[in-house]
C-alpha cells in the first residue's frame, strides 16, 4: 500500500483528527483506492504509537462520513464514493466554512474578485492533481 501516515503531538489538531485528515487526503490523492484495506485499529495504533481508542475514533468518524466502510470480520476498507448527506445537508455543512471564509476575507480587506480568484486557483490545482 502506497499509504504512509505520521501524526505529531503538540499540534492544534487532535491526533484522531490528524488520522482522519491523512486518510481523506490519501483517498482524494488516489493513494488509497476504493476497496483498499486499511490497517487494523491495533496495527495502526502500534505503527503510530498512539492509543487504539484514538484510531478507533478516527475510523468511526471516517465510516460515518462514508469514506471508509467496515466489513464484518474482514476489516476496514475504503468505501465507494457516494454522497452520504442529502443535498440540503451538504449545503448546510459547506455554509459554515464559507461564512467564515467570507468574514475573514472582509476582515483582511481582500476584495470579492480577488477571493473568487483564490478559490478558483485552488479548485484548478485540485483538478490537475486528480488527473
Amino acid at each position: 500500500m502506497a499509504f504512509r501516515m505520521r501524526v505529531s503531538t503538540g499540534s492544534a489538531a487532535p491526533i484522531h483528527r490528524q488520522i482522519r485528515d491523512r486518510v481523506c487526503e490519501a483517498v482524494h490523492a488516489g493513494d488509497l483506492q476504493e476497496g483498499d484495506r486499511l490497517p487494523s485499529v491495533r496495527a495502526l495504533a502500534e505503527m503510530l504509537v498512539v492509543n487504539p481508542n484514538t484510531v478507533a475514533r478516527a475510523y468511526a468518524d471516517l465510516t460515518r462520513d462514508g469514506v471508509l466502510e467496515g466489513r464484518q470480520g474482514k476489516g476496514v476498507f475504503v468505501a465507494r464514493r457516494r454522497p452520504v448527506y442529502t443535498k440540503a445537508e451538504r449545503l448546510r455543512r459547506i455554509g459554515e466554512p464559507l461564512d467564515a471564509l467570507v468574514n475573514e476575507a472582509l476582515f483582511l480587506g481582500i476584495e470579492p474578485a480577488e477571493l473568487r480568484g483564490l478559490v478558483d486557483e485552488r479548485l484548478g490545482r485540485l483538478e490537475e492533481g486528480g488527473r
Binding site: V50, P52, F107
Partner: protein, 315 residues
C-alpha cells in the same frame, strides 16, 4: 464485565508527612480499559498518590479500592494481576538480565517469557549483561520487561519516562501500547510529559499541590479548554472576569482569551462585548499549561462521578 467498571477508585485520600500534606484531596475513578494519565509537576503528589492506591503507603485519611478490593489489604492473588513500575527503575545490580527474568518469573504463574524477551530485545538488552551496568534507558527496559511479562490486568507506572532519552521513551510508549492489545487491560501512569500523554492517554487527571484539579476523558478536556481571539475596532478591549476564564493575553489587534467553556460556542461573557470573536485552535500542551497556569486554585471540571453500586455490582 461492565464497560463502565471502575478498576481504581479513591475517596478523599489525604497523606501528611509530619505537618506537611503531600496529598490533600484525591478522588479518582479509573475505568477499565482506559489509559489513564496522572499529570502533575514534580512534587505535586503523584508518587504518594500511587503508593497509597497500591497499598504501599497508609493514607492519613480516606480510602481506595483496586480491582474490587481495599488498597490496604490486597490479597496476593489480586496483587499478581497488578504490574507496578516504580520510579527510578531499581534493579538488582549483580544479576544478569536473563537471571532477573528467571527470578521474577517464579513469583508469577502467568509469566510470559516471550514478552520478557520481546521487551528487553526492543530495548536492545544483552541477556548476559549485568543489571548494574545498564544505562538508565536500558534499566527502564529491563524493569518494563519484568513488569509486562506477567501480563498484568492493571499496569501502574510511576513516571516511567523520567530521565529517558527520546528513543528509550518511544520504546516505552510502544511497549505500553503493546501491553493493552488485549481488551480490558488498564494502565495508570503518572507523567509530566504532555506529548506522551497526548499520544497514549484517553483519560487524565491533573494533580496540583496534592489536589486533583481536573478528571475527565482527554477528548473532553481538549474540547472544553478553548482559545478565542477577540478584535474590536477602535477601543482597547477589557475582558471581564467570568467563570471558566483561564488567561488573557494581548494579541495583534486585540486580545486572546483562554477559557474552560461549557457549551459549543464562545462563552456568553465574550459574546456580550460586541467584538469579533473567533476560535483559535490550541494544542493539548497549551491547553494544559493554561489550565494549570494563573488560576491554580479553581476547579472547573465536575468532580469524580459518585459511586454507582448498581454498576459495580454488575461487574
Amino acid at each position: 464485565m461492565a464497560d463502565n467498571e471502575i478498576v481504581i477508585r479513591a475517596r478523599g485520600l489525604v497523606k501528611c508527612f509530619g505537618k506537611k500534606a503531600a496529598v490533600r484531596a484525591i478522588d479518582l475513578a479509573v475505568p477499565r480499559g482506559s489509559v489513564f494519565a496522572l499529570l502533575g509537576r514534580n512534587g505535586s503528589g503523584k508518587t504518594t498518590a500511587i503508593r497509597m492506591l497500591l497499598g504501599l503507603l497508609e493514607p492519613t485519611r480516606g480510602s481506595s479500592d483496586v480491582l474490587g478490593v481495599p488498597s490496604r489489604a490486597i490479597p496476593p492473588e489480586v496483587r499478581g494481576r497488578i504490574g507496578f513500575l516504580t520510579e527510578g527503575h531499581p534493579v538488582i545490580a549483580w544479576m544478569r538480565v536473563e537471571e532477573m527474568g528467571r527470578f521474577q518469573s517464579r513469583f508469577y504463574p502467568g509469566w510470559n517469557e516471550e514478552i520478557f524477551r520481546a521487551v528487553t530485545g526492543h530495548f536492545r538488552l544483552d541477556p548476559k549483561a549485568r543489571a548494574g551496568d545498564l544505562s538508565r534507558g536500558e534499566r527502564a527496559g529491563l524493569c518494563l520487561g519484568l513488569t509486562l511479562a506477567p501480563e498484568p490486568e492493571l499496569l501502574v507506572l510511576d513516571d516511567p519516562s523520567l530521565g529517558l532519552d527520546p528513543v528509550a521513551r518511544r520504546s516505552l510508549l510502544e511497549a505500553l501500547i503493546y501491553s493493552i492489545r488485549k481488551e480490558g487491560r488498564t494502565v495508570l501512569f503518572s507523567s509530566h510529559l504532555l506529548s506522551d500523554v497526548e499520544r497514549v492517554a484517553d483519560h487524565l487527571a491533573i494533580l496540583d499541590e496534592g489536589v486533583i484539579r481536573a478528571h475527565c476523558p482527554v477528548d473532553v478536556f481538549r474540547s472544553r479548554v478553548r482559545q478565542y481571539a477577540l478584535q474590536l475596532a477602535g477601543e482597547p478591549l477589557r475582558i471581564p472576569d467570568f467563570a471558566g476564564l483561564l488567561q488573557t493575553a494581548p494579541a495583534a489587534g486585540g486580545v486572546t482569551v483562554t477559557a474552560v467553556c461549557e457549551g459549543e460556542g464562545p462563552p456568553e461573557a465574550l459574546l456580550k462585548l460586541g467584538a469579533r470573536v473567533e476560535e483559535v485552535p490550541i494544542s493539548f500542551e497549551d491547553a494544559v499549561l493554561a489550565y494549570m497556569g494563573t488560576r491554580g486554585e479553581r476547579r472547573m471540571f465536575p468532580a469524580v462521578p459518585a459511586d454507582r453500586p448498581d454498576v459495580e455490582d454488575a461487574a
